[in-house]
């Protein structure tokens, strides 16, 4: 990734050294541990649920991927599918993503949903640059991925990744909401494996 991004270095934890003393999750903390998002160790059994061991990477990544706020921007017909994804049938509120922010300053995810024309391209780039770090981009649909049916056109950019970095590409024209959900899950997997401590030099 480019400036301000994070090195994608999956943190491996030697699970053989972690002593699990129980079989089934009972308390809230144990259930959280059971989700697999944080590999935690309960250290103080005498005070149930009071101490939580994890790595900074895992906690921060878990917090980030659990509430991705997209910026409200739609470029073409894919934006109609984006509305469908946000509605009750497909319901991205399950991912904590239902808050489409009207300002890029408050968003950390951008769906490039539709045809990026030459005239719109500097605006899309400006929107991306206005978003605070950390930020992610999902390119949605054939037009945003490669130019699609307008690849030979005088007025359409040949892929939005020529102006901004893209994390996940969702193919389709337009992609069905199920494809969006799959793309969102792929981005969550990616964020889960990002190395945050590495940017602080903690990996040395």
């Amino acid at each position: 990734m480019e400036k301000g991004g994070f090195r994608v270095a999956p943190v491996t934890i030697d699970t053989t050294k972690i002593k699990h003393v129980r079989k089934t999750p009972e308390t809230a903390l144990e259930k959280l541990e059971d989700t697999g998002l944080i590999s935690t160790v309960l250290a103080a059994r005498e005070r149930e649920g009071s101490i939580l061991f994890s790595t900074i990477d895992q906690v921060i990544n878990w917090a980030r991927l659990s509430s991705l706020w997209p910026v409200t921007s739609g470029l073409a017909c894919c934006a109609i599918e984006m509305m469908a994804v946000a509605m009750a049938h497909h319901d991205i509120a399950r991912f904590g993503m239902e808050i489409f922010r009207a300002s890029p300053r408050q968003a950390d995810l951008m769906f490039v949903s539709g045809t990026v024309t030459k005239r719109m391209a500097p605006r899309v780039k400006q929107l991306y640059e206005m978003m605070p770090d950390p930020k992610w981009v999902i390119s949605v649909g054939s037009c945003a991925n490669t130019g699609g049916p307008y690849h030979e056109s005088y007025s359409v950019l040949k892929g939005v990744d020529s102006i901004i970095p893209v994390d996940v590409y969702i193919p389709g024209c337009p992609p069905r909401p199920e494809a969006w959900l799959y793309g969102i899950i792929q981005l969550r997997e990616k964020i889960k494996n990002e190395g945050y401590g590495a940017t602080w030099g903690l990996d040395k």
Partner: protein, 167 residues
């Protein structure tokens, strides 16, 4: 008698040819007398100018006006043939206000000049774009990019280094 034949009867020397475009009656009009013919068509009840299109045939341009009458539910197609070197025709904005943006679009993409138009500027592409993209001789090899200038206006250039990530 359809509308094209009626127009031919009224202006026999301005209408050079009548025929059909699909199911719609079509009249080819001399470009010098387009305004006169359009005025007569409006008097016949064609109160709406639906769309203006331009066609580049390589050796000539054609501008096609689709008219519709709300009262009689009739269509009429007017056509003018223009020189390829100097495509100019009178504007119809005095007859139909809606001709304004339609003529600007035809000017933007085909480069046909409408004399008498109040504001003949580009409507879809930014000012400064080189060429008219729907012409047959448009240069598709040089790619043009748009960036935002200091005052917020669109700036067109063939150099995309401000916009693109990699060269």
């Amino acid at each position: 008698m359809n509308a094209a034949e009626e127009l031919k009867n009224i202006l026999p020397d301005a209408v050079t040819e009548i025929g059909k475009q699909g199911k719609k009656p079509q009249a080819t009009v001399k470009k010098e007398r387009l305004q006169e013919a359009a005025k007569k068509a409006q008097e016949l009840g064609f109160d709406q100018l639906s769309v203006i299109t331009g066609v580049d045939y390589g050796d000539r341009f054609e501008v096609i006006y689709n008219l519709f009458s709300y009262e009689n539910k009739h269509n009429l197609v007017l056509k003018v043939i223009l020189d390829h070197d100097k495509p100019e025709v009178d504007s119809l904005t005095t007859l139909w206000k809606g001709a304004d943006w339609l003529e600007r679009e035809t000017y933007d993409l085909m480069g046909i000049k409408f004399t008498g138009h109040p504001d003949l500027t580009r409507i879809l592409l930014p000012e400064g774009w080189n060429g008219h993209p729907l012409r047959k001789d448009y240069d598709m090899e040089t790619e043009q990019f748009v960036t935002i200038g200091r005052d917020g206006d669109d700036v067109v250039s063939t150099d995309g280094s401000n916009l693109l990530r990699r060269k």
